[in-house]
Symmetry: C2
Subunit: 189 residues, 2 copies
DNA sequence: ACATTCATTGACCAATGGTTAATAAAGAAT
DNA sequence: ATTCTTTATTAACCATTGGTCAATGAATGT
């Protein structure tokens, strides 16, 4: 038995995260076993627990990054678009695109019944919702009350959660998403 | 070893279903182990497999019943309400109420990634969606195209799926549901 | 060179869904 | 009532899972 590996071959957090992202996305978080992940990393599954407290913490690290990306995308749209109505439309579509591109992450972020994960993610998902609130509030010049924005969020959420269960990509349902967003915007008048 | 029980104490499908319904609702389908279920039934967990092929089939039997109940409720609303607009509102609320009252079932019905369950449920969930389509189509006198109805369904779905993950009952969020439905109906004009 | 710290293995644990040979109760036939 | 057949059940088994931890040699520090 020769446990510790030579310096160049040591497991790192980044290595775990990179492989985990691939597996979670292709197989699904709950379906990926720690042993499976360890196999792709060519280490024992116990080694992963040196770097991460548990499976949920691996996931949390990935999702935290993804939330940041989404927030940045929304900021970009606000900075680059001119027309307020267009901005709103693009933000809503951006949210749907995020949900369907990171399907597995979205599912766990907003739908998971794992108490551990929910606890870890509470702050991050609140931030995203707050980003949506503030941008919609600004773009509609305070004409939308919080309940209306919430209703809009839930409608987006419905689109994403439904298509998350299909094998369809964002491109597959893009026109449906466009229509859904247009429908939602009917209530902003 | 004395395997078979006396006639009055034999396990039956109904006994399994009754206990399963309670446990699935209180603990959650995926968190209920077959051994846990067997314990409440005072039998071995292997005995359950004499009556049901697997865990999914127990669930399917329960859900099939619940779908029927929902469909009947929608029929009742159509028969008893007078005003078309009121009917639509009540149907949409009825759908939300169903989703939040049978939270665990709804989650599995529409959100489960278990291929086995999805396969079993495909026909039943299509029936429910078709019930929604036909009733909305009739009540709006063909003014709504299928894509709009789909959009409405997804918005309802979003409300339900979001609150399914909270410990809130339908009564807790009833006013929010009312608002959401009113918001959705803005797009039906 | 020696001591300490670190990263890892592999065996362990408790738990899970599902399977199946053995078994006695239930049911049918005589 | 007795015998034979069918049925419903147990308990042991299997492979798998997430997580734990003593033992171990590489890495690091003195």
């Amino acid at each position: 038995m020769s446990p510790r590996k030579s310096e160049g071959k040591e497991l790192s957090k980044e290595m775990v995260l990179n492989e985990a992202r691939k597996l979670f996305a292709s197989v699904g978080y709950s379906k990926v076993s720690m042993r499976q992940l360890a196999k792709t990393l060519d280490c024992s599954h116990g080694a992963i627990y040196y770097h991460f407290k548990n499976k949920a913490e691996i996931f949390y690290s990935l999702v935290k990054t993804d939330f940041s990306l989404l927030n940045n995308k929304i900021d970009d749209i606000i900075l680059t678009e001119n027309n307020a109505s267009q901005k709103i439309e693009k933000i809503l579509l951006c949210f749907i695109e995020f949900g369907l591109t990171q399907q597995n992450h979205y599912a766990i972020m907003f739908l998971s019944k794992e108490k551990e994960i929910q606890h870890l993610l509470q702050l991050d998902s609140n931030k995203t919702y707050e980003k949506l609130i503030s941008s919609l509030t600004d773009l509609t010049e305070n004409k939308l009350n919080p309940a209306s924005i919430w209703s809009i969020f839930l409608s987006l959420h419905g689109f994403i959660t439904f298509y998350i269960n299909t094998q369809l990509s964002y491109q597959d349902v893009k026109s449906l998403a466009n229509f859904h967003v247009k429908n939602i915007m009917k209530s902003i008048e």
